[in-house]
Chain length 208, copies 2
DNA sequence: ATCAAGTCTGAAACTTGTTCTAGATTAACG
DNA sequence: CGTTAATCTAGAACAAGTTTCAGACTTGAT
């Protein structure tokens, strides 16, 4: 039995300075093109050109368009998590704080709807080959929600509630992006699902 | 002001016998190919060949691959709704009945995971041009859930809960299809979100 | 400084969704 | 029937994601 250090990713060799720079240029170009015209506007040839990299190189860094966009989302999420940390939500209950946090994220997405489109579509369209990356995004989202709840160690019920909140969050975004739900409707959906948190709160146990 | 019968679709001219037959052949071929290898295996040229129709004709009937797969889903959903009607769920509470119904649907999808993959991926990848069709699928799903709840006229809160259940249902399916969640996990998510129904029940909700 | 291995480039090729065209077939109607 | 408009067919052509390849460039180790 070989002693695996981490079951996640084979420890990819560290990147050189110039490689890091290339990677950043690519992600920047991707986000820029996405902001212009959404998923369809992120064309691999254009990304390559914008970021001064050969097409083959682009594919070496990101093995598919979906990989690229999911990585773009990772970057944006990290940025947002940082922003949220600085200004924690003010609500009195965990449910309120989570709803407030998600609405804040939602407003950020509204400022760049095309970028949101590209990232979310990529995320939900991703197949098994992108699972590790998508999982990473999911973990990051979970962290953001748990942060908002302000919990040290959540109960299994609470984790289930968080999962359902994430499901609702993603799906509600999709309905908004495809024009089938209004901003107000998304707000209602978020607030509705956040009530699940109260249901699972241990401090005030329900009779059972 | 013209009296519109339905604001949905301009009344498309009725199809002839042979056109109906063509449409059925196309949808059948689509479902068959999807069952084999999922979204990627549904190739427009192959669908055209399998259904004995020219490529241009296929595109006249379904203006894109996503349209085709969403229509395929409509057909499957209708079939499932019929099946479910015949054997209504037995649970004591509305939440139990909804969970039971969704799990039954889930088991049906498990029998054809590739087909499920094709349909669900198309559904969530659909852009605005497919909104009417996707909306139709959504309405159909809402009907199934409301049927399971056994309600005459649901309250706005209950409708919100149903929306959130649908979100969770779609997103949970995606995580399962992409191998990021187990069947057991999907079950838990469904049961968790169904608790929202109790939360919104207008009369005395506890007991069984 | 030199060599080997790995990386990057530019360009072409391949795949599959989508569009277009010219001609054949069908349907509706007088 | 014969005409006319709509539909269908076969096939080429186009668009964008992906793969491939030969040669130039970097990097790390000696």
């Amino acid at each position: 039995m070989p002693a695996e250090v981490s079951s996640a990713s084979p420890p990819s060799p560290p990147l050189t300075e110039r490689q890091e720079a290339r990677r950043r240029r690519i992600l920047h170009a991707s986000a820029q093109l996405a902001s212009r015209g959404g998923f369809d506007a992120v064309q691999m040839r254009e990304v390559a050109e914008s970021s001064q990299v050969a097409l083959g190189t682009l594919y070496r860094y990101f093995p598919s368009k979906v990989h690229l966009l999911v990585a773009t989302m990772q970057a944006q999420l990290e940025h947002m998590h940082g922003t949220l940390r600085k200004k924690p939500p003010q609500g009195a209950t965990a449910a309120e704080r989570v709803a407030e946090t998600l609405m804040r994220a939602f407003r950020a997405l509204q400022r760049e709807p095309h970028l949101a489109d590209a990232m979310v579509r990529a995320l939900t369209f991703a197949d098994r080959s992108v699972s590790p990356e998508v999982d990473q995004v999911s973990r990051q989202t979970t962290m953001i929600i748990l942060d908002a709840m302000g919990l040290e160690d959540p109960t299994p019920q609470q984790l289930s509630a968080v999962r359902v909140i994430e499901h609702t969050w993603h799906s509600a975004l999709i309905t908004w992006l495809s024009g089938r739900a209004s901003i107000a409707q998304v707000k209602i959906d978020i607030e509705t699902v956040c009530r699940l948190i109260d249901l699972t709160a241990p401090e005030e146990p329900r009779r059972r």
